[in-house]
Symmetry: C2
Subunit: 463 residues, 2 copies
């Protein structure tokens, strides 16, 4: 089988897969070591045929796949490798473009500008936000906090943080429900984990702006230097929304960087009923939104919108001779200047194809439907006499628990439900207690899939 | 056209493209703004057909592509999106797996372990090196230096670097020819750009171990704290090889982290004649090698091998409740613990398919052929009375310049050659002078392509 034949075979295999992922259990059933032990421990000496490789893919690899593209996937944040996105990745791999400089593929740079302008319009963000694509929200948030450090600490790029007795300890603020990538960023940036002060949330899991205010005042009195706050729009546990407007007012008064983490929920701002969710974000310094989460774009594609991209360039721009281009290209953007990764995949292609394939109205419809499904489940829970809903449902994630059951019992129920192969849910803890989390985000999820999850939960709880 | 039809159409388009990329000029001929201006400034409101999207891809995007997969691509480091790699990316996009935890796709974690073990065996590295896949060498090197910082500065994870009067300024060492990602890493980590001390190279562009030794001694006398050195095996400008054994001996004596940057040339260690190139690397703490550079794997896939992965985990491991898994999975590796990026694509699949499709012997043959082609060109240059070769050719990159010509003239010649559409070369500067750089690395490059580049250079130089 030559490449052409193999590509056609995969085209059919993938078309079948995307039509009926439900033939596979959503959560892989292999035990640790099963896949490893089924593979040779040494590399093949001689070339092998596509037949042999693809047969092993189906026989050995596939049983070890947890099917993120399955409509019964409700864990973490459910995502979709949509059809136009999959086609774009196929093309992108064949072109194998490295979009570090404008000249290394002008279309990659300019398509990134155009699609990020389209997305910005859909979200209702001001033009002052310049966008750039990174791989993950972890990296987007890292760049935002690096920019905050750059602004706050004179000469940090040249002189760093250590051995400078004049520098106070720095502080970054986020909600107790903010994502762990904020922790990893402050550690990496040399601020130290203690530099991250987690602000208590209210009863709906949103950061208390008054507590942020008090924390900053306290830290200033103690001689510490606040440099940034992160407001989360759609936290990972409950998708709660921090009061961005109030936080933005505090950040402006205190002259500290405001980064909005809208990685999951930001895309919902394109739905008219949800436009409120980015209210206040127009005053932020940066905002991250991940089309690979809830905008049907294959993983990975995270977007950082930033009002001060000049600060990110100031922090990282660095052009060795072998990357200099002729003066004829003056004025073009070289995207390598906006990040720590020199190499950049041609990721804009998949976002462009997704936006065109669905159209703005099509995207809105699907987001609205996911939010409807979440409310349907929330109603079932609210009407149930066995389960309690434990958080508001502003978007497409529902948090709930079995009434009068221990955490261990809840965990056993979750394991039983996930063993069904029909659905896969994950959990979190709220106020110290185990909570089921059902996240809707796959394009092919219907009410029947949510109902199946609900039936399985009730069945498992009744055992 | 539905997805299946579109996928088959792309299968043919891509098969044709990979068979004859030479129908396109290798360096894009568009002017700044051409692609952007050909696209609507607002997002489409309604869904569009695959016909329309793919037609625009061919009409608007393709002319703005610089063809990295073209056999006449000799710029930077030439790379290949090989056929098995392209197929793997198609599959990977459809599965859309996020390999952060073992359970989120056991096959992704275990295939990563197996393929990285295969690659380690091919390179002749000891088993003590644990491997992990990142996106780029920038990120691999960043993790290596973060680990060095973690070991050198007690409590850096918790307390950071600022406001700690007891901490001395830190130092990292690399050759004057080391990659700019080292600069970006020390900046990001809060060490400051001044913390990076670039060590002079010898006449063959390799770091002088005696100069490293002297620099460390001088810095220690000045009260600075050396924490790491980077030895480069295949520098970006000339592919020179630092004396790893001598550098390793210094690092061991000084108890500082040794990171080997073998991003480009490391894969050549699988060729018996080149096994020397990683001599001494077995004593390193970490080593980066990029299959997406010279191992025919579509971009992006960088591998960090590390003897002290425990230090990287100690620096970054952090498990919020929503990512905890049941005790039944104790003992499995959760790859999110090894990095700052929580999200991880299923990249191992493409490396596995590439290793199987070519087999170890097939890979060796192709690397040997690329090195032969580089020597062929080097001989032509050496026999020429117009061009001078300006660096040794240990691998597949040749550096040379036109005799008795100014830098401006050389630049004009390069621009003329690149305007041909047949080949694309880049340049560097050595000893302050402009140098042509011809890098061989595409799977479909033959002697005819190198000869064409040589003819174009001579023609342009004769004008």
């Amino acid at each position: 089988m030559d490449f052409r034949a193999a590509a056609h075979r995969l085209a059919d295999w993938i078309a079948d897969y995307l039509e009926h992922p439900e033939r596979y259990p959503v959560l892989a059933r292999v035990r640790p070591g099963d896949v490893r032990n089924a593979l040779p421990s040494s590399p093949p000496r001689h070339a092998e045929s596509y037949e042999a490789i693809l047969a092993d893919f189906e026989r050995i690899i596939l049983p070890g796949i947890t099917h993120w593209n399955h409509p019964g996937f409700f864990a973490y944040f459910a995502i979709t490798g949509s059809e136009p996105g999959v086609l774009a990745e196929f093309l992108s791999a064949a072109l194998n473009v490295q979009a570090m400089l404008w000249r290394t593929s002008p279309a990659a740079t300019e398509l990134e500008e155009v699609t990020l302008s389209w997305l910005r319009q859909l979200l209702g963000l001001p033009d002052a936000f310049e966008g750039v694509i990174y791989d993950t929200a972890s990296i987007s948030t890292l760049h935002a906090l690096a920019a905050a450090r750059e602004l706050a600490v004179p000469e940090v790029r040249r002189s760093g943080l250590s051995g400078r007795a004049e520098l106070p300890a720095l502080r970054v603020y986020c909600s107790e429900h903010a994502h762990s990538s904020v922790d990893k960023s402050v550690i990496l940036l040399g601020l130290g984990h203690d530099a991250l002060r987690r602000i208590p949330a209210d009863t709906e899991f949103a950061m208390r702006a008054d507590a942020l205010d008090a924390a900053i005042a306290e830290d200033r009195r103690a001689g510490l230097q606040p440099i940034a706050a992160i407001a989360t729009v759609g936290t990972t546990s409950t998708t709660s929304v921090d009061p961005v407007e109030a936080i933005a007012a505090i950040c402006q008064r205190e002259r500290i960087w405001l980064h909005v983490d809208a990685a999951y929920a930001g895309v919902a701002a394109m739905v008219p009923d949800c436009a409120w969710l980015l209210r206040g974000a127009d005053a932020a310094d940066s905002l991250v939104v991940n089309p690979h989460k809830w905008l049907f774009t294959p993983f990975d594609l995270s977007v950082l919108y930033c009002r001060r991209m000049d600060v990110i360039r100031q922090a990282f721009s660095l052009t060795p001779e072998y990357l200099r281009t002729s003066e004829g290209e003056a004025g073009v953007r070289n995207l390598m200047d906006t990040g720590i990764q020199l190499g950049r995949r041609f990721r804009a292609l998949k976002l462009w194809m997704v936006l065109r394939h669905f159209g703005a109205e099509g995207l809105r419809e699907r987001l609205v439907e996911h939010m409807r499904l979440a409310r349907v489940l929330a109603n079932w829970i609210d009407e149930s006499d066995r389960f309690d809903r434990v958080a508001p449902v502003p978007f497409s994630v529902v948090c709930f628990r079995l009434r009068d059951a221990s955490d261990d019992e809840q965990q056993r129920i979750l394991d039983r439900v996930n063993a069904s192969g029909d659905v896969f849910l994950s959990h979190t803890k709220l106020d110290g207690r185990f909570v089921f989390r059902l996240a809707i985000g796959n394009l092919h999820t219907t009410e029947a899939h949510v109902a199946r999850a609900w039936a399985l939960l009730n069945e498992a709880a009744g055992l």
